[in-house]
Symmetry: C2
Subunit: 360 residues, 2 copies
DNA sequence: TTGTAAGCGTTATCAA
DNA sequence: TTGATAACGCTTACAA
């Protein structure tokens, strides 16, 4: 079963290979007559253009990549799913690169992707990968940053972010509205930028409500779950004990829940609990969890669309799109004064109408 | 910045392109002297072999694909992560294909992958994709089936499965040991094979304990969560109400938990609850969930290793590997007679020492 | 509108 | 051990 080439088709149809190519790619102009004959020959011989040869010739791989720290985090899983869906709609394939929070692995992947000449990259970076991103940019490969601000990366780099600051501000304000004044914050395994933003949201929210910042209430660990547990538990031994916990990410929310359970602390009776990020099961457990809904679906979709938009117009100035998270109140903070004011932060725009900021 | 080719290197080193190629690929034999000169030229010019050209010439893409119904299901997320990790170790890239439980999408992906000449495919099929798999096989692309039995697909197809039957048998036996006799089973969005296996496990376990099978206690829905809720709720209106629920998959476990919550039924006081599949949060919620631990990590790793083994030896007869799940007892079934016998099914082998069955 | 032919960068065959 | 050169299948000037 030798492979059927464009030459075979040309011979069978009695035309030149150029004509066949033109028919396949609907490029140039071909008379109806010849076009018909070529079509026939193609189906008669069962010809399929060799994807590899075409890719090599045209230098377009119809492949994009998503570089993600951990695809099993629910948030990232959804981002990935949506991104894959958009890619599929464009007849592109998606390469999954899980970096496992390791910047060496990230570097390795980014190099691989450049050599492979993928058409674009979605990047949820772990470490400092300026040079890799710039190399991609120079090689003409556009990059969309996920939840990372647009720095001086290059002309082909865009970004889409969830407003961590505001999400956190709202969550803390909600707790304050419920009467809490000793609110602990725990976070882990987040990129510096997100840490900074969420911590800033925490501090500003406290400040806005005239609650002094107490550093003993803030705990950050980048250790994996198992070792984090021990050190994180100290926050519960403080006296007086914090009356509420804000878990700034999925990872440490799990850790914290385990900890509360181990200590026999019940949510919300003994302690209130809010987390950033969204999880499908939050509404099904007891008590249902109040959380800051991270618009992962939108993030994935918008990011990939931005990438294709960039592919279509490489001249457009870099864009930075902000998505708004939403506080979903359920029962893990108690029912105190449910409808207390939601903070001093100005009312947000509609969530689906994302705030779009164009930089530069 | 024109591209540096192998020809430039050859010229710079004063050798032929063939020699450069030999040095790059460590193929053939090159004297130390020339090898040195070539190495120098390579680093002096910053030459990087063109991946696309090489791919086209050699027809090996160093790319594998994972076709998965839904990457956001925790189980699949882990499989994917482990598979990606093994691929990375071999310097391969992984294409993610999420089929969204749609066999048309699956078909489309499988065709794409064949045309792309990926080196191998991991497949968690939705529909009947015999012809696609056979086409891959004929094109020389090995496939590893995930949780699907080895049928007459072709010579290059292997399979790795989790023993659903036994996992279910154990779960039901556990409930029976705790004194339950009215055990409901719900399942959804599973491949027919898994449905069949889990239902068989359920029936056999009941039978082994002389409990009659009551079809009203078994509910299957392939509708998405929202619509499934209503119909699934009927199982709770039975009188007498079942005293235990076995949720045969992650999807419907969530649905069921929501339902129980809505009905104000507490786990385990009002009703016992076990599920198949593993989730990170099971141990952190109240009550911690008893479940059949699905060895997703092992599944992903073994599957990808099997694929590479096949790539290394295409003659080896097709293999079907079974992995054993493990019942993890926590508190969602109550503490009844905790250490009751765990069923009549013969003791299992060590979990990590997987039962390996070679077919044909 | 159609055909001819020149690449694209690499690997691999064959002869030296 | 090394070098010259022919593929590989397609796209795309350029010529007709």
């Amino acid at each position: 079963m030798g492979m059927v080439t464009i030459r075979d088709v040309a011979r069978h149809a009695g035309v030149s290979v150029a004509t066949v190519s033109r028919v396949i790619n609907k490029s140039g102009t071909v008379s109806d007559d010849l076009s018909q004959r070529v079509q026939h020959a193609i189906s008669a011989l069962g010809f399929e253009p060799d994807f590899l040869a075409r890719t090599w010739r045209t230098r377009v791989t119809r492949t994009v990549a998503a570089v993600i720290s951990d695809n099993t985090a629910p948030h990232h899983g959804i981002v990935l799913r949506e991104a894959a869906n958009v890619a599929l709609a464009h007849d592109y394939n998606l390469i999954l690169c899980t970096t496992f929070h390791d910047s060496e692995t990230e570097h390795r992947y980014l190099r691989m992707l450049r050599r492979r000449r993928v058409d674009g990259v979605l990047l949820n970076s772990v470490g400092d990968c300026r040079s890799d991103v710039r190399a991609l940019s120079e090689a003409g490969v556009p990059v969309v940053l996920l939840n990372r601000p647009l720095a001086d990366y290059g002309p082909l780099v865009d970004a889409v972010l969830v407003d961590s600051y505001r999400g956190t501000f709202d969550a803390i304000s909600h707790l304050v509205g419920l009467g809490h004044r000793r609110i602990a914050m725990v976070y882990s395994r987040l990129h510096d930028f997100l840490k900074h933003e969420r911590l800033r949201g925490y501090r500003d929210a406290l400040h806005a409500h005239n609650i002094p910042y107490d550093e003993r209430l803030v705990y950050c660990s980048d250790q994996p779950h198992e070792t984090a547990v021990l050190s994180m538990s100290q926050i519960l031994t403080l006296s007086p004990r914090p009356s509420a916990i804000y878990a700034a990410s999925y990872d440490c929310a799990l850790t914290m829940m385990g900890l509360l359970q181990a200590e026999g602390l019940r949510i919300p009776d003994d302690i209130a609990f809010v987390m950033f990020d969204d999880v499908a099961w939050a509404q099904f457990i007891n008590p249902p969890l109040t959380l800051v809904q991270n618009p992962a679906q939108e993030l994935g979709r918008v990011a990939m669309e931005l990438l294709f938009a960039r592919l279509a117009d490489r001249q457009r100035p870099p864009q930075e799109i902000y998505l708004q998270p939403e506080l979903v109140v359920r029962r893990s903070c108690g029912s105190g004064r449910q409808d207390a004011r939601r903070g001093l932060y100005p009312a947000r725009a509609e969530r689906t109408v994302s705030r779009v900021a164009t930089k530069e």
